[in-house]
């Protein structure tokens, strides 16, 4: 029941990373104006997926969920990408800070010094008013705090889980439950503020009070989709003989339900802004609807209509191939969603999706695949001594 990270998969991961490096190099060498936003887009996307793994794991502990014990190793493995995402995020932020003339020209408009200088022609009263929160030192402190909290708890859960494999009993489980409750409180705050910092601050003038939740919903559903993909992959390979169709059904239900949850928040944010029609708010959707229309519509169709219609029936949630297909569709769909959050603010209407954009994502995907598979291979896929293991193995719905 151990997963072996075979040579073929390693080669695939390395090839993808190589494609990614070539694409990133090419986008900088050809002065692709989307280079920085591609990096931020992919870093944030894979960070979100990884974070969703730890979040979902913490939910399972805090709610004392029985059925999902068989999935916990997958969630733990997803969380192990967070340190890599943190390094990438720091590289993107500081790289962008150094590369841009006058400080951070490429991604974050608010890094310009002149915006805060009343004597300057560039002086921006609105952005200057936000400087109490949106300034470089505080931003860096917040960023480091997020990663410290997220990575710290991820490692803690992993440590307790591996200790449980040796010691047995329920002491480690109860500890994990206590820590996960703490993590969820911290996550509730940091998931919102990190969404403001990393993404909403790109469109510095614009704000939406729902943005944190909206980003969280996208984060959660893309994480669940990746979890489903890994689950189906492992079941198909025969690494997880203990997974029954009942587990698949519940995992599929999460994918179905949280697609609708994401749509609800997406629409709640869109409709209020559309209806109120206030210039300072509506600009955000104007550019996305005028210049990104195919993606804007595809975002809605792929992330709502596809899972809604396909996963509605009971039988669909129990079929391996269908689950796998929908998880891939949602992965692509939420890639588009994050693209629409990041790119329009950085490059305005001058966007394109070519081989460099796709190649960059493949590179991140290769790194993600490598890290996940390496950590899946490190521990047995079944937590043999989990106190709720029997409930999970005999799960029946």
């Amino acid at each position: 029941m151990n997963y072996t990270f075979n040579q073929k998969n390693k080669t695939i991961a390395f090839v993808l990373i190589a494609i990614g490096l070539v694409s990133i190099a090419a986008s900088f060498l050809t002065h692709n104006h989307q280079a920085w936003s591609n990096l931020l887009h992919n870093t944030f996307y894979f960070m979100a997926i990884s974070l969703a793994g730890t979040f979902f794991l913490a939910v399972q502990y805090a709610a004392e969920v029985g059925w999902s014990v068989v999935l916990k190793r997958i969630l733990e493995a997803m969380g192990t990408f967070l340190p890599f995402a943190a390094i990438l995020m720091l590289v993107v932020f500081f790289g962008n800070l150094m590369a841009g003339h006058n400080g951070g020209h490429y991604i974050y408009h608010w890094l310009h010094h002149d915006l805060y200088d009343p004597a300057s022609a560039e002086y921006d009263k609105i952005i200057a008013g936000k400087s109490g929160y949106l300034n470089l030192p505080f931003f860096v402190i917040r960023m480091l705090a997020y990663f410290a909290i997220w990575i710290g708890f991820t490692r803690l859960f992993r440590k307790l889980s591996l200790k449980e494999d040796i010691e047995g009993g329920s002491a480690n489980y109860l500890k994990a439950r206590k820590y996960s409750a703490t993590f969820l409180v911290l996550f509730a705050v940091t998931s919102s503020t990190s969404a403001w910092d990393f993404i909403m601050s790109i469109d510095t003038h614009w704000y939406s009070t729902l943005f944190g939740w909206y980003t969280f919903a996208g984060m959660f559903i893309s994480g669940i989709a990746v979890m489903n993909f890994i689950l189906v992959y492992l079941v198909k390979k025969g690494n997880m003989p203990f997974i029954t169709e009942h587990h698949l059904h519940d995992a599929g239900k999460f994918m179905f339900a949280f697609s609708i949850f994401w749509t609800y928040l997406w629409f709640a944010q869109f409709m209020l802004i559309w209806y109120a029609n206030i210039p300072e708010e509506v600009t955000y959707f104007m550019i996305r609807f005028e210049h990104y229309r195919p993606l804007f519509i595809a975002n809605f169709l792929i992330n709502f209509i596809a899972p809604f219609l396909v996963l509605m029936t009971r039988d669909a949630k129990r079929k391996l191939n269908l689950l796998m297909t929908i998880s891939v569709v949602l992965f692509i769909g939420h890639w588009i969603d994050v693209f629409l959050m990041v790119t329009p603010g950085v490059v305005k209407e001058h966007w394109h999706i070519g081989w460099m954009e796709i190649g960059t994502t493949l590179g991140f995907l290769g790194l993600f695949m490598y890290v996940i598979q390496a950590s899946l291979a490190k521990a047995p896929l079944l937590r043999e001594k989990h106190p709720l293991l029997q409930e999970s193995l005999h799960h029946s719905i």
């Binding site: 629409f267 869109f270 409709m271 559309w274 029609n277 029936t313 009971r314």
Partner: protein, 171 residues
């Protein structure tokens, strides 16, 4: 010819679950078990077909969606064109975001009420209909097993079999 039903009243769900395969072995047709709470594996043991109420719910939902859109199109686009949020586009698809909340509510309303009404109709629980109560405690702590039989002799045999397997009483 009409079929008759032999009822056995039990006081333990484990006894019921163990009795079902034994009765089926003896060629008794156990058609239903009425229980105050869901019993795991009961549907499978009885070989019940899956309920079609989810399909009905989908149909009711679609009906609700269509009715709501039709209503708002007639009221706000066709009969009395409305300037919605300062965007006088006078077309359903352009004003759709404003119509979604009502459409959603109508879909839920029709699906939920449709399901409940369908369930009552199928269970013959219309207003004014005398409910067919086998044992008043079947909603509390009693389990009623129903076996379909053809003749009175079969009914007596079913009664005897259920008694032998732990029924409190039969009727």
């Amino acid at each position: 010819m009409s079929t008759k039903i032999a009822y056995g009243i039990f006081d333990d769900d484990d006894v019921v679950m163990h009795a079902i395969p034994k009765l089926q072995e003896k060629k008794f047709k156990v058609v239903d078990v009425i229980s105050p709470f869901p019993i795991h594996g009961l549907d499978h043991a009885l070989g019940l077909k899956r309920t079609r109420i989810s399909m009905a719910a989908f149909m009711y939902g679609i009906t609700g969606t269509s009715l709501a859109l039709l209503m708002m199109w007639y009221m706000n686009i066709w009969d009395w064109p409305m300037d919605i949020g300062g965007k006088p586009s006078f077309a359903l698809y352009k004003n759709l975001p404003a119509f979604i909340p009502v459409t959603f509510e109508s879909t839920v309303l029709c699906a939920a009420h449709g399901m409940v009404i369908t369930f009552y109709l199928r269970s013959k629980l219309l207003p004014g209909v005398e409910p067919h109560v086998i044992d008043v405690r079947a909603t509390d702590d009693r389990f009623v097993m129903a076996i379909e039989v053809k003749t009175d002799a079969d009914k007596d045999a079913a009664h005897a079999a259920m008694k032998a397997l732990g029924a409190m009483y039969v009727k």
